[in-house]
C-alpha cells in the first residue's frame, strides 16, 4: 500500500465520521460584529460622536482615514464613517422586514406544500422551480421600475426574491418531519391536520427557518446593494451601502478609501451573517440549505 493509497483510505474514514459542530472564536466574532452593526444602525441618530452624514466639510475633502474621520471623507468633505453607519441603517431596515416577510410567506408556502403534498405541492413546487430559474435581479429591477423607487417598493421587490428559496427549504424540512414517527403516532391517536401541521410539523421547521433567515439576510443585503449600486433602489439623498460604493467607484483613483471602507464593512457583515447561518444549519443538520 502506497502512501497515497493510505491517504485515500484515511480520507474516506474521516468522511464517514459525524461532523462535530465547531464552536469557534470566529462564531463569537461574527455574532459580536453583527451586534455592533445592528446597534450602530438602530442607534445612529442618537450617537453623539457620529457626524451628520449630510454635513459638508466635516473634515478636509477627499482625505484618507484619520483619527477625526475614521473612514476618511468624500469630495464634499462628508464623514464616510457616518455615511457608512447611516447606509447600514437603510440597508438593514429594508433587509429586516424583507427577510421577515420572506420567511413567513415562504415558510408557510413550503410547509403547506411539503405537508399536504399532491396538487398543492405540485403547484407550489413548479412555481418555485420556475422562479428559481429566473435571474432575480432582472425581476427585482422590473418590479421597482413598475412600482417606482420607494422604500416599500424596494422592500417588496427583494422580499419576493427570497420567497422561492425559503419555500423550497421549508418544503424539504416539512417533508422530512411529516414522515417521522411522532407525527404518525399523533395521527393514529386521532389528531387532525391543523394539530399535526401546527403542533407537530411546524415547530420542527422553525429552527431551520430561523437559521435560513441569516443566510437570506445576506442575500437581501446583496440584492438591495446591487439595486442601489446600479441606481435603482431608494433614491437620493438616502444613503445606502450600494450608493456609497457607486459613488466610490467614480473616485477610485483619488480616494479609494470610500469604496474600500464601506465595501469592507459590507463584506464583513455578509461574512458574519453567512457564518452564523451556516453554523446553525450544521448544528440542525439541514442539508438542503447549505450555501
Amino acid at each position: 500500500m502506497t502512501a497515497a493509497m493510505t491517504t485515500v483510505v484515511r480520507a474516506s474514514r474521516r468522511a464517514t465520521a459525524p461532523r462535530r459542530p465547531r464552536r469557534s472564536i470566529a462564531l463569537y466574532v461574527s455574532l459580536g460584529w453583527l451586534f455592533l452593526v445592528v446597534a450602530g444602525a438602530v442607534l445612529a441618530p442618537w450617537l453623539g460622536f457620529l457626524d451628520d452624514p449630510h454635513r459638508p466639510l466635516a473634515g478636509p475633502p477627499e482625505a484618507g482615514p484619520s483619527w477625526s474621520n475614521w473612514f476618511g471623507t468624500d469630495q464634499l468633505g462628508r464623514d464616510m464613517f457616518a455615511r457608512s453607519v447611516w447606509g447600514s441603517r437603510l440597508s438593514l431596515s429594508i433587509a429586516g422586514p424583507a427577510v421577515g416577510m420572506g420567511v413567513v410567506i415562504g415558510g408557510v408556502l413550503g410547509v403547506v406544500a411539503g405537508y399536504f403534498g399532491k396538487w398543492i405541492d405540485l403547484a407550489v413546487s413548479s412555481v418555485v422551480n420556475v422562479a428559481l430559474a429566473l435571474p432575480a435581479l432582472v425581476f427585482a429591477l422590473f418590479i421597482v421600475t413598475m412600482l417606482g423607487q420607494s422604500f416599500w417598493n424596494v422592500t417588496i421587490a427583494v422580499t419576493i426574491l427570497t420567497i422561492p428559496a425559503i419555500a423550497r427549504i421549508a418544503r424539504a424540512q416539512a417533508l422530512r418531519f411529516a414522515a417521522r414517527e411522532f407525527v404518525i403516532v399523533a395521527n393514529v391517536m386521532g389528531a387532525r391536520w391543523p394539530r399535526l401541521l401546527f403542533r407537530e410539523v411546524l415547530p420542527n421547521v422553525v429552527p431551520a427557518l430561523a437559521s435560513i433567515a441569516f443566510l437570506a439576510m445576506g442575500i437581501v443585503i446583496i440584492a438591495e446593494g446591487s439595486l442601489s449600486f446600479i441606481g435603482v433602489s431608494v433614491g437620493s439623498p438616502s444613503i445606502t451601502w450600494g450608493n456609497i460604493l457607486a459613488a466610490g467607484r467614480g473616485r477610485l483613483e483619488e480616494s479609494p478609501h470610500i469604496a474600500l471602507t464601506t465595501g469592507g464593512v459590507m463584506f464583513a457583515t455578509l461574512m458574519a451573517l453567512n457564518f452564523v447561518g451556516d453554523d446553525l444549519l450544521r448544528r440542525l443538520d439541514v442539508r438542503e440549505a447549505r450555501i
Binding site: V8, L134, S226
Partner: protein
C-alpha cells in the same frame, strides 16, 4: 419510446411555462397607473404619436389579446422600438448581446477552470491545511458581493497597477489583446461569485466518491493519483456540475448586470438598466419577458441533457 415521451412532456411543460411567465410580465405593465404610451415619449408627445403607439401596442385590446399579438410580433422578428430615440429593440439587443454572452462564457471558463483542480485537491486532502485554506477562501468569496470584488480588482489591477483598461468594451476584431485588457477583470469579478459554489459542490462530491470501491481498485491497479482523480473521481461529479451550471446561469446573469454597469461594458444588463432609467417601460417589458423565456428554456435543456447522460432521471 420512453425517451421521446420524456422529451415531449418536458417540451410541453416548457411551452406552458413560457406562455404563463410572459403573460405575467405583460399583465404587470397593465397594473401601472397611467398610459405606458404617454410615458414612452417622456411626456412630450403629440396626440397623434400617442395614438400611433397605442395602435402599435394594441392598447385598446384586453391584456390577453395584447399579449397574443405581442407574441406574434416577437415570433416574426418585430420586437418594437424606442419612441424616444427611434432605435429598434433588435438593434440595441444585437449590439449588446455578444458582449454579455462573451462575459458569461469567460467567467464560466475561469470559474470551472479554477474550481475543478481546487475542488479535486481539497476533497482528496480533506482536513489538511491546504483544504482548510481553500474552503475558507471559498466561504469568504461567497460572502463578497460582486460589486465589492469588482471595485477591489479595478482599484488594484486597473487603477494602481494599470495592467488592464477601463475604457469600455473592445470587440475581438480590434485585437485580442485590447479585448482581453477590458474583459479580463469583469470576467474575474463575475467568476469570483461562481467559483466557490462549484468548488464546494465538487469537494463534497469528491469526498463521497473517494469512498467508493472502484477508487480503491483503480489505485490497486497502480494508476497514479492524478489519473484516479481525473478519470474516476471527476467523472461522476460531472452530473452535479451540470445541474448546478443550469441553476447558476440565472445567478450569473444577476452578477453580469452589476459587472457590466461597473465596467461600462454596455451589454444586455446595461441596456436593461438604461431603459429602466429612461422609463422605457415597453422595451423593459419585452426584454424581461424574453430573458425569462430564455432562462426557462435553458433549464429545460439542462434537464434534457441530464436525462440523456443519466438514464435514471428519465424514470422519475
Amino acid at each position: 419510446m420512453a425517451a421521446l415521451r420524456f422529451i415531449g412532456v418536458r417540451l410541453a411543460q416548457l411551452a406552458v411555462v413560457v406562455l404563463v411567465v410572459t403573460l405575467l410580465f405583460y399583465w404587470m405593465l397593465n397594473l401601472l397607473p397611467g398610459n405606458p404610451c404617454v410615458a414612452a415619449f417622456g411626456g412630450a408627445a403629440t396626440p397623434e404619436q400617442i395614438a400611433q403607439c397605442e395602435q402599435d401596442r394594441n392598447l385598446g385590446d384586453p391584456v390577453i389579446v395584447q399579449w397574443a399579438k405581442w407574441g406574434g410580433d416577437v415570433l416574426t422578428g418585430d420586437f418594437g422600438k424606442s419612441y424616444l430615440t427611434g432605435r429598434t429593440f433588435g438593434e440595441a439587443v444585437s449590439n449588446a448581446l455578444p458582449r454579455t454572452l462573451l462575459l458569461l462564457a469567460y467567467s464560466q471558463i475561469l470559474a470551472l477552470g479554477a474550481a475543478i483542480p481546487l475542488g479535486l485537491w481539497s476533497g482528496y486532502r480533506q482536513g489538511s491545511a491546504g483544504d482548510r485554506l481553500i474552503t475558507g477562501g471559498a466561504f469568504a468569496l461567497l460572502s463578497a458581493p460582486v460589486f465589492v470584488v469588482g471595485l477591489v480588482l479595478m482599484l488594484l489591477f486597473a487603477v494602481r497597477l494599470d495592467w488592464f483598461d477601463l475604457s469600455g468594451y473592445q470587440p475581438i476584431s480590434d485585437g485580442l489583446a485590447a479585448h482581453f485588457k477590458v474583459m479580463f477583470l469583469p470576467a474575474v469579478a463575475l467568476a469570483a461569485g461562481l467559483l466557490p459554489i462549484y468548488l464546494r459542490l465538487l469537494r463534497t462530491d469528491v469526498i463521497g466518491t473517494l469512498q467508493e470501491d472502484f477508487v480503491g481498485t483503480a489505485r490497486a491497479k497502480g494508476l497514479p493519483v492524478r489519473m484516479v482523480l481525473l478519470r474516476h473521481v471527476l467523472r461522476p461529479s460531472s452530473f452535479t456540475l451540470l445541474t448546478i451550471f443550469g441553476i447558476q446561469a440565472a445567478q450569473a446573469v444577476n452578477g453580469a448586470i452589476v459587472v457590466e454597469f461597473l465596467f461600462d461594458l454596455d451589454g444586455v444588463g446595461s441596456l436593461l438598466v438604461s431603459w429602466v432609467a429612461a422609463r422605457e417601460f415597453l422595451l423593459v417589458q419585452t426584454l424581461v419577458a424574453l430573458i425569462a423565456a430564455v432562462f426557462v428554456t435553458v433549464t429545460t435543456v439542462v434537464d434534457l441533457v441530464y436525462a440523456a447522460l443519466d438514464p435514471r432521471v428519465r424514470r422519475r
